[in-house]
Symmetry: C2
DNA sequence: CTGTTAGCGCTTTCAT
DNA sequence: ATGAAAGCGCTAACAG
């Protein structure tokens, strides 16, 4: 039933050592032996058990992961929860995880961190990318050194990752706009909250989501006016001022879409000023967003399964490093639509 | 770092054999040895690796799973996909899976199958329940023989399962009604599709969902009229007749909610009769429902992650059988809200 | 280049 | 009641 290395060895008339050398491309194998074994391998469906492999595997793998800084209750924390879960599941494989944080609102910090990573020894790298040029520069270096890399959170065009695990940000924006307009009076004006960054335009993900929002309106021939709500993550004390200015300028706002994880900024403003007649659609199950959803300030919250992204990135990288099996490159995680009623069920199990 | 049986044995001054006997309650251990080992076990965090255990474990486990008959592309198929995935992941554990199908629309078939199961030898049973009395009778027998059982799809009150993996059907109905009324003109009349069964009233899940629908209307003080659409799974040829009769009787239907997996029945009717002004909210990602969602006949489709339910049921049962560790009883899977835009991402990975 | 062998953590058998 | 030892599938070191 189950095929073992020993079975393959017997049928090919060689020893288990030789089969192992062939399976792992360790060299020191004659053409004759290789052919004999390859023939058997084609006939049978051999599936090594990675946990057993790990038991005798002596080598250590060094995996670097680089993302925006992790704050408790925020988006990136969930990615790392998935990472930890995968590491626990594969605890027979000896991996040395190196965590390198940069600040996604500051391009200079990203440059610093990436240039360090480029000089480090590693078997694989997991990247949560923000800035395009910087990411391409890093991945070019990695490719030079034949170090495989995997993206989480979003794919960066112009690179050749082993795989990426991300939601479809364009569709996310499109969907947010569809949901918002479906629960908002016809022709309501719509606000869109956008964070400022140091040294660069918006992030990858935000740009795509915003395009999704615009395209939905155009495709459906909707004429809702869209107004940008400016705000700065680095100067949160100005938020209140900026928001009240916005809501005093535009009196006919029927709904707001927040294409980044800071929806709670709006929700908090609604709570403080007892605003109830403006609908709100946001993204990411951060702790404050979850609370705002439960309290009714957010109407729909889109989740992008960050835990699964982190889990799959580690799992995929480990299995690749151990067996060098081919890997599926494009992997979109689901876009979960959460409401007040369903969010509790996303936080268990 | 990682604690092995050998470490525990050394620190307790006994052999690994003794530790193993204690960990698995195999008996033949002196009080002295037991105390010494228990003391160490309390100090350290020992976590056996089930894949390695499985490698040397000689015993086979027999697991019985009983559900409604599986048809390709329907709800129950996904449950079995999760079952298979878990079995593959734990392929070191030798399990003999016995599948016993009954017909969920026929209480007599259920009685037959259950009474057979009650006489079979088994280490554990997984039940996808439909009829209350029958299920309680079966689980009473199982409890007599100390056979642990796990529910998938829904929990049956009045039983004591090891665990259950189910969505919250009441909330599912509540949510469906919320979504439907949010995209439907105020005071629209609402249709609700209900299947007939042989020999009993409606199923567990449908009753709960229907209650959710009603409660939502009442809680929100909505006065939409609710009309039952009768239909028989066993006489599909009458469907067309029943539906046209319904839609000719009630001319002001604005939306339909389908609290069972047969939403495609309505969607097909809409497609055939080119009906576009009635909103439709359904449950379960069956193949026909998925198609109807993509084609725009269904507006919202609720998914209840059947694959995860099957996976978790097997995983939980296997881990319990091998280690007898305590198990969390109540496990609700998420209620996924799918739209035309997001369904594709639920079918990959 | 190749076969043999020890050993990974765990269970089970077999003496004692 | 207990320890020693073999064996599960796999890898790695070693001897040839």
């Amino acid at each position: 039933m189950k095929v073992r290395i020993k079975d393959i060895a017997e049928r090919a008339g060689v020893s288990t050592g030789t089969v192992d050398r062939i399976l792992h491309n360790r060299g020191n194998v004659s053409e004759t032996a290789r052919e004999a074994v390859d023939k058997i391998l084609k006939e049978v469906n051999y599936k090594p058990n990675i946990h057993i492999s790990g038991m005798s595997l002596k080598r250590k793998y060094r995996i670097i992961i680089t993302t925006h800084i992790v704050f408790p209750g925020e988006y990136w924390e969930s990615i790392y929860q998935g990472v930890d879960k995968a590491l626990a599941e594969y605890d027979n494989i000896k991996v040395d995880l190196v965590i390198c944080h940069y600040n996604q609102y500051d391009i200079y910090s990203c440059r610093n961190v990436y240039s360090q990573i480029a000089t480090m020894e590693a078997d694989g790298v997991i990247i949560g990318p923000t800035f395009k040029e910087e990411t391409i520069k890093l991945t070019t270096e990695l490719e030079k050194n034949s170090i495989p890399y995997i993206f989480v959170d979003s794919m960066m065009q112009g690179t050749n990752p082993l795989a990426y695990f991300s939601s479809d940000h364009y569709t996310c924006g499109y969907l947010m706009c569809k949901l918002l307009t479906s629960i908002t009076p016809e022709n309501s004006e719509i606000g869109i909250l956008q964070a400022e960054r140091i040294g660069d335009g918006s992030a990858n993900t935000t740009i795509l989501r915003k395009k999704g929002v615009n395209d939905y309106l155009n495709e459906k021939g909707l004429s809702n006016k869209l107004h940008r709500i400016p705000f700065s993550v680095l100067e949160p004390e100005r938020t209140d001022l900026l928001l009240s200015k916005f809501f005093h300028t535009y009196k006919n706002i029927g709904g707001i879409v927040v294409p980044n994880s800071r929806g709670n900024v709006i929700a908090d403003y609604f709570a403080k000023n007892d605003i109830k007649n403006i609908r709100l659609v946001c993204v990411d199950i951060t702790e404050p967003n979850a609370r705002a959803l439960k309290e009714g300030h957010i109407d729909f919250l889109i989740g992008q399964e960050p835990e699964r992204q982190g889990f799959m990135a580690i799992k995929t990288l480990i299995e690749y490093l151990v067996y060098r099996n081919p890997v599926k490159v494009d992997n979109f995680v689901p876009l979960d639509i959460l409401t007040k009623e369903t969010i509790d069920y996303y936080e268990t199990i």
